[in-house]
Amino acid sequence: MSCAPGEPCEEGRTRRRALAVLGLMGVIFVALSTVSFLDSRGQAVPAAVSYAGFDAVQGKRVFQAYNCMGCHTIVGNGAYFGPDLTGIYGKVGPAWLEAFLPSAGAWPTSGAVALQLRNEAIATASGVHSIDDYLAKYPAAAERIERRGGHASSMPNLPLSHAEIGQLIAFLEYTSKMNTEGWPPTPRVNGLAYSRAAPMAAAASTLVPASTPAAAAPTAAAPETAGARGAQIALETGCTACHARDTGRLVGPGWGGLYGAEVALADGSKIRADDAYLTQSIVDPDARIVAGYAPHLMPSYAGMLDDEEVAALVAYIRSLGGEHP
């Protein structure tokens, strides 16, 4: 029933008018949509962005393949389990992301970021070469290192390859270049001054989980044995983000019981994990890759750690058990 009896029926005309207005709205929508994506708008596009030789379009494929949006948001859309990633590249810089992504289960330390800056491509993309300049240029990276460095993060380690990490960072560089029209709003206060902010961690030594046996050792002002010094280096340089103190696999092989053990290499041969092999694995990790691990994932520590420091690290690994040759 559309008309009361006795009145002239206007229902048909009213309905046609509604459909006509709907048509006009459709025209407006299509026109606005068209001008939204013209080149003259000057919006960043992924095809024009590359980072250290990696392509942002490929990065978008990686972003989708790992369903990053299932925990994080991007331009505010996605899940709300982790932080928004749209502007993360601009905030923390590429070296921090390079240090974080391979071993996302732990927050990078200053040493881990400094190591990435030794890579020329990463330093160029960052625009700075020293860690001090980096932390000054990217205060969000400084804040993360200071408050979270060495802690476990809530993110699981993902099996990202070296290339996937570069592509992902290229994609994040693209999104941080996007004009999102004022979103997210810029905070007007320093949130760290509020009680909602977790207290700052005092020193690197307190970052070690208390349950691990190595925790107590490096707290002394001047570590005495080479092993204890190695433990401290392992922490500061961020080795422990990838290598567990037991036999478990985080990102790289666990160090527990490794020393002196027989190790199967990717090329099918076997080798004993002695001082020489461990030293080489630290300064030139790609020389002899262990079976089941991808190349280029571990950065080289040559030049970052001197011979004495590498020896201390090896001594630390030796102290974590295994057969003595």
Binding site: R15, L22, G26, Q43, V45, P46, R144, E181, G182
Partner: protein
């Protein structure tokens, strides 16, 4: 209607049962997600949060679709006055749906390995886009399924010249369901363009197409339950759909505020989504009027309870909560936080989930031949548990979201593990608490519908057990309904002001009292009003049985005279 008129209507039963099974698993994944929110290391590496969430969102869509298909197959023959065309195809559709559900559940897990199955430039196995996580293979199978549904329904319908508004609504609905789906089937390089098209599927699908099917089905269920006239329901269906599109076509722009599209969308999206509640208010009055059209006792209380729940939660979840966060000035704060979750859960489960459950409660007793004497107590209890549970979830999400906006956006603290999550801890604990209430309701509901008419018959309450038509059971007049609706909108306005207040200089200076106060009044006020209103509405309808019972004991002659 007290018995099945067309045998092919029985084909809908399997879709309703599948809906229930998927609903159970979806709610289960939801509970797992709440646990992972409290302990992020839970199952990390085995079943990561993003995989569990993809299962939760995808199963949510799939069970709603399964319910829609069931409801459409059930009403199709009634609307056409003949058997469904191609019943063989419908059986095939069912097995295809089963296969695609199993395939999709399995392939989502590949996200943990970063394996999308890239082939021909398309992600074949899974694609990691919110709500559209299924890969291209899933997409194509679902597309074929929709095409089959279109074919069956359009072949079953009478000639176009004989269509009324309900035919048009369902016909356009299923065709658009198929066509709009295509926009989600391409890999798009640009993030802004990809999000632009993703919202075609998510917004136009849900708020445009599902809504059209929803309005049409609600209209026809009212015809079936209350004997409302097809003509006046048709009028409401036409204008309901017209207002959905008159507001929603440009209202979709509320998804284009911050994705990298130009700033003019902020105006168009805000203005037209301010109009989006209009069709919902229209639909609300339409169900009120039709339910009160006759004074006859209501036969199937659970079916009507879910139908009412669907329309009321649509009003509250989609209409009011959607309205509060749809303006650029409020959305800039709520966007990307838990505030949006309260809207999404109430709107999606409320509007579409409850409609599927209403249709199932209407149809399953008929198909099992127990319409005259089925025990409705379990169904009513299950309704109250899922309804209360869902309102509670909406409350927990909204409160958590308000805290999140303040900590994350106003203070700019972005350490989720250290700063944001601990601040939201209370809300994060409320979610599983209400989630458990919801889950118990789901279990009862699934048990009840699966075994309805098959289990031993319990003693059934006579009409004398119905509530007395006084107090909360007295007749619900239009003016009182209007007051309830007004109260809901007043609380909605308080919530809106609370979100707007994040723009205030003092709030941005770190003073959180005002937005917290407004959220603390607005959300519980809105959700409690909703709960009480539905209680009031249902009690007044159930009290009719009481009146009928009283009438039955009158002398027959007197009754004839009064008739």
């Amino acid at each position: 209607m007290i018995r099945i008129e067309y045998q092919t209507q029985r084909l809908s039963l399997r879709f309703f049962l599948l809906m229930l099974v998927l609903f159970f698993f979806q709610a289960g994944f939801g509970l797992l997600l709440t646990a992972q929110h409290i302990d992020p290391t839970l199952l990390a590496g085995t079943l990561n949060f993003n995989v569990a969430r993809a299962e939760h969102t995808n199963l949510g869509i799939l069970w709603v679709l399964s319910g829609f298909i069931g409801a459409i197959l059930f009403v199709g023959p009634l609307l056409s006055k003949r058997e469904l065309a191609a019943p063989g195809l419908i059986k095939f559709l069912f097995y295809a749906l089963l296969a695609v559900v199993a395939w999709n559940v399995a392939t989502q897990w590949l996200a943990q390995q970063g394996n999308a199955g890239w082939w021909l430039g398309q992600p074949m196995l899974q694609e990691g886009l919110e709500y559209l996580e299924g890969g291209r293979i899933t997409d194509v199978v679902i597309f074929v399924g929709f095409a089959i549904l279109c074919y069956v329904l359009l072949r079953t319908f009478p000639r176009v010249s004989n269509w009324n508004e309900i035919h048009w609504g369902l016909g356009i609905g299923v065709v658009a369901l198929t066509l709009v789906w295509v926009f989600g089937m391409f890999f798009v390089e640009r993030l802004d363009l990809q999000e632009y098209f993703r919202w075609y599927v998510v917004h136009y699908w849900v708020e445009g197409v599902w809504e059209v099917i929803h309005i049409s089905l609600v209209g026809f269920l009212l015809v079936l339950m209350f004997g409302a006239s097809i003509k006046s329901v048709g009028y409401a269906v036409f204008w309901g759909i017209a207002f959905v599109w008159l507001s929603g076509l440009l209202g979709n722009a509320h998804h284009y505020f911050w994705i990298g599209t130009p700033e003019f969308w902020q105006f168009w999206g805000s203005l037209f989504s301010a109009l989006e509640p209009l069709p919902l208010i229209f639909c609300f009055w339409h169900i009120y009027l039709d339910a009160h059209q006759d004074r006859k006792p209501i036969g199937n209380v659970p079916a009507f309870a879910f139908l009412l729940g669907s329309v009321v939660l649509e009003q509250v979840g989609a209409g009011i909560l959607g309205f509060t966060m749809t303006f650029a000035l409020t959305n800039v704060w709520s966007h990307g936080t838990w505030v949006t979750l309260s809207h999404a859960h109430l709107a999606l489960f409320g509007t579409f989930g409850m409609l599927g459950l209403a249709a199932a409660y209407y149809a399953v007793p008929l198909m099992r031949g127990v319409v005259q004497q089925f025990d409705q107590r379990l169904g009513k209890l299950a309704f109250w548990l899922v309804f209360t549970g869902m309102l509670g979830l909406g409350f927990a999400f909204a409160i958590g979201g308000t805290v999140q906006v303040f900590v994350y956006r106003t203070l700019g603290l972005d350490w989720f593990g250290g700063d944001v999550a601990p601040a939201m801890q209370f809300a994060k604990l409320m979610v599983p608490a209400f989630g458990l209430v919801f889950m118990i309701g789901v279990c009862l509901l699934v048990y009840d519908l699966l075994t309805l008419g098959l289990r031993a018959k319990a003693t059934i309450d006579g009409p004398a057990a119905a509530p007395a038509p006084t107090g909360w059971g007295r007749r619900l007049y239009g003016w009182e309904t209007g007051l309830w609706l007004l109260a809901m909108w007043v609380f909605g306005a308080i919530i809106t002001l609370g979100l707007l207040s994040f723009n205030l200089h003092s709030v941005q200076g770190g003073h959180r009292l005002f937005p917290y106060l407004m959220a603390g009044i607005g959300y519980p006020g809105l959700l409690l009003t909703t709960l009480l209103f539905v209680g009031r509405f249902l009690r007044s309808l159930e009290a009719r049985c009481h009146a009928a019972a009283a009438q039955a004991v009158l002398p027959a002659g007197l009754q004839a005279a009064s008739g």
